[in-house]
Symmetry: C2
Subunit: 477 residues, 2 copies
């Protein structure tokens, strides 16, 4: 495609995206498609000859979009807010259009240096001390895997340079809250610790890790000859946005030489609000942490920022230096390939740089505060209406609710809960994610899509009433 | 940013990208910036209030672009072709603009199903058998790490579900050619094998792994009580595009129960040409392989396709299934989160789908053939001109060259080589990557940027003459 064709088709696509975003609220939130529908609508073999570009755009309309669940819909309350603010989208467009690649600093100096600057901007916005250095990864899953690999290697005196994990004289143990994200378990397993050496620490009534239980678990492992290696604390767990007590955990980590990694993937965005920073009090004691601006903050996915206090450990674990990547500038610069798993890196900093500049810190703060207030409004409405219950504290933008009619309990209550949530999702009017809490299903209402205003939350509350009324009142069956 | 503002600013950005691509050949290929120049041009603190969008675009022009090395420049002969064909760029724009996320199939069905279809298209284009299933990862570094994690777990009876790597009764060993990419070593170290258990197998005079030496290494390890676990073969090594003998290696892998992973990150694209498929004869015997369409083929970075013969191993190693990700469709669908490291996934399939449809298989084949012919032309020109030498076979698009004036050898020759390459790079007229071959520096000429025609290769050859003439003839010092 020539630059001139790109100019023409690009304008068409920009208009198409603008129309999509402007009209997304008229679509069903959850895709109304059965497994295989999209696959069957596409040819099974690739085209030998070039196809007209109009056909591609037509299929985008005809096949792809009806097969999507719309994360930018104002009635999207599922999973977590994954906001691609349109200014950030343009930053990503600049990156993809420029098509440059980070391998070494020299392979595109601005790619590295804008990333240094903008991750430091974000550090300041989050109120983190200056000794933390940031790097952009794809997701928190990767950031947490990187953290646990660094923990493993620091604890083993860098066994990777010798005989590997087998030579470690005793099992290394990883600790996390029973409410930590599935990516923590995945990372511990992939890093080779083994499920037997992952301790899921019990939580208190607010679903936060109990520091006293962590202390006991560490002591038990030490007494048994195992080596406590790392603890992952969460600021804002996935199920309820619970807040692990970072300061108490940091004290234990420091006392016993554990690597402290803080998973603030979702809730980290809230720390641009000074009034929220009590939630991760003690964060200065972390060895590493992850904050995903591609969630609530509004950077186009994927943009997960990993902060470390001591980059030397990270670089020692991740660095490679083959001749074909060496340049004369290497001693004076950061080579971010040594800060994570992939060698090749996109110019991801642009989407964060565009977002922060176009919105300003004040603009981002105002939007997050809107969402916090909306969550409080919903929590109060639900909490004040029998037989509804709010099941967990609401420090952030997620409200965990259950409708508990008289006489319903146990499995029958689970069927009722999954039933009304499924009715809402299938209706296309709103989208919620159910989850287990203390072994029973409930509905998570995750507020914070860019387009979600108070009116949408009020409408959701009405829909919840209608859905628990037996399903009446839905426009789409 | 509202959809209407996005429409206006998006059109400006499309024009800006079109102008950039159309005029990139008038820029110096390598960034003419010293370490810190870009960083110092940017404010050290984030803006509290929103900034005018014009200022962002102005800084893109003023600060960012002069700080880039231009990978889409027709005189870019460094590293490898990392082509973002403009049709593929538009596919990525659609993905980012839609802003949907793959977590579960249900979270955006089309995201999963278009990926299933388009990776199967590519499988057919590469001439791979139907039992291979594909998934898009970010880079080959990640794909190779995934492969070695699967190899480790299959060999250990899935130790991750129990005591982890420490419980494996004897060391697991990984084999790769001495010319394998640095990402293979990195993956083996991160997966916990340890450098002591990574065998870099000697190569033949064409820089390909010697299967007889591999057989000896396997036998030695077995005799010493170690467990041969995995072998990584490369189709098209980074330094010289050497071709490891896949069929012979596959026979050994099968006989001794090794996981065979094939790294065809760069050269895999060439397999859309039937006349190139002899290069990976025996590929049917691989357990996994990686091909990066974001290299020579033209998909916008990042798009690394990982093929596996038995997805069950992959899913068993990578799967997580917390309640908040479960949906009623799970038994009928693929959940690609269980096919790699990250949970959240972009709609990367669109950029490959746009590319293949807009170019057609025939269009892609024609461009790759152009590059193969250009490489042969340069190899013949260099090979026929004293004191130049072509140092390795040229099966693909990379030509390894050295200028060897009488009387120059050893370190003096290295200084001469690094000197003339550096003069070319600093001139901005062309860009080459030097590398070590048999312990001595040489220049890799990697042909295959989208815009690189024969005239550009001819011009490079003239520039090489001028640069070895003492540096005369450069427009920029």
């Amino acid at each position: 495609m020539t630059p001139d064709e790109f100019r023409k088709r690009g304008h068409e696509l920009i208009d198409w995206i603008a129309d999509y975003r402007a009209g997304v609220d008229r679509r069903p939130v959850m895709a109304q498609r059965a497994p295989g529908d999209v696959r069957r609508a596409l040819p099974a073999t690739p085209p030998h000859e070039a196809e007209p570009f109009d056909d591609v755009l037509r299929d985008l309309d005809r096949i792809v979009v009806p097969g999507l669940s719309h994360w930018s819909h104002p009635m999207f309350f599922g999973y977590f807010p994954c906001n691609g603010e349109l200014s950030s989208v343009l930053g990503d467009y600049a990156s993809t259009g420029l098509g440059v690649l980070g391998l070494a600093w020299q392979s595109s100096p601005a790619l590295t240096e804008v990333e240094e600057v903008v991750t430091d901007w974000l550090r300041q916005m989050l109120g983190l001390p200056a000794e933390f250095s940031g790097v952009i990864q794809d997701t928190a899953s990767t950031s947490t895997l990187v953290a646990l690999l660094c923990a493993r290697e620091r604890a083993s005196g860098y066994s990777l340079a010798r005989g590997g994990v087998r030579e470690i004289p005793a099992p290394l143990v990883v600790y996390a809250s029973a409410h930590s994200h599935s990516s923590v378990e995945k990372a511990a397993l992939l890093a080779g610790f083994g499920r037997d050496h992952l301790r899921l620490i019990p939580c208190d009534e607010a679903f936060a890790m109990r520091a006293d239980a962590l202390a006991v678990a560490i002591a038990d492992d030490q007494a048994a000859g195992r080596i406590p290696c790392a603890v992952v604390a969460t600021t804002g767990t996935t199920t309820t946005t619970a807040l692990d007590p970072i300061a108490a955990i940091a004290t234990l980590a420091s006392r016993h030489g554990l690597w402290l990694h803080v998973d603030a993937a979702m809730a980290g965005s809230a720390m641009v609000l000074p009034e929220c920073r009590w939630m991760w009090d003690g964060i200065d004691g972390a060895d590493s942490m992850v904050v995903n601006p591609h969630k609530w903050l509004g950077a186009a996915f994927d943009c997960s920022v990993y902060y470390v206090r001591d980059p030397d450990v990270l670089v020692r674990v991740m660095s490679t230096n083959p001749s074909y990547l060496q340049t004369s500038a290497d001693r004076e610069v950061k080579n971010f390939r040594d800060w994570g798993l992939p060698l090749g890196r996109r110019f991801r900093a642009l989407k964060l740089w565009f977002l922060i500049r176009e919105q300003g810190v004040a603009g981002l703060q105002a939007r997050l505060r809107r969402d916090l207030v909306n969550a409080q409004w919903l929590a109060q409405a639900v909490g004040g209406t029998s037989p509804w219950r709010v099941l967990a504290p609401v420090p952030l933008q997620t409200v965990c609710v259950r409708h508990e009619p008289d006489g319903l309990a146990g499995d029958a209550l689970d069927r009722h809960t999954l039933g009304w949530v499924d009715r809402i999702n299938r209706s296309g009017d709103a989208y919620l994610t159910p989850a287990l809490l203390d072994g029973r299903w409930m509905a998570r209402v995750s507020i914070g899509s860019l387009a979600t205003e108070r009116t949408h939350v009020e409408r959701l509350w009405k829909i919840m009433h209608a859905a628990t009324d037996g399903g009446a009142g839905f426009s789409r069956p």
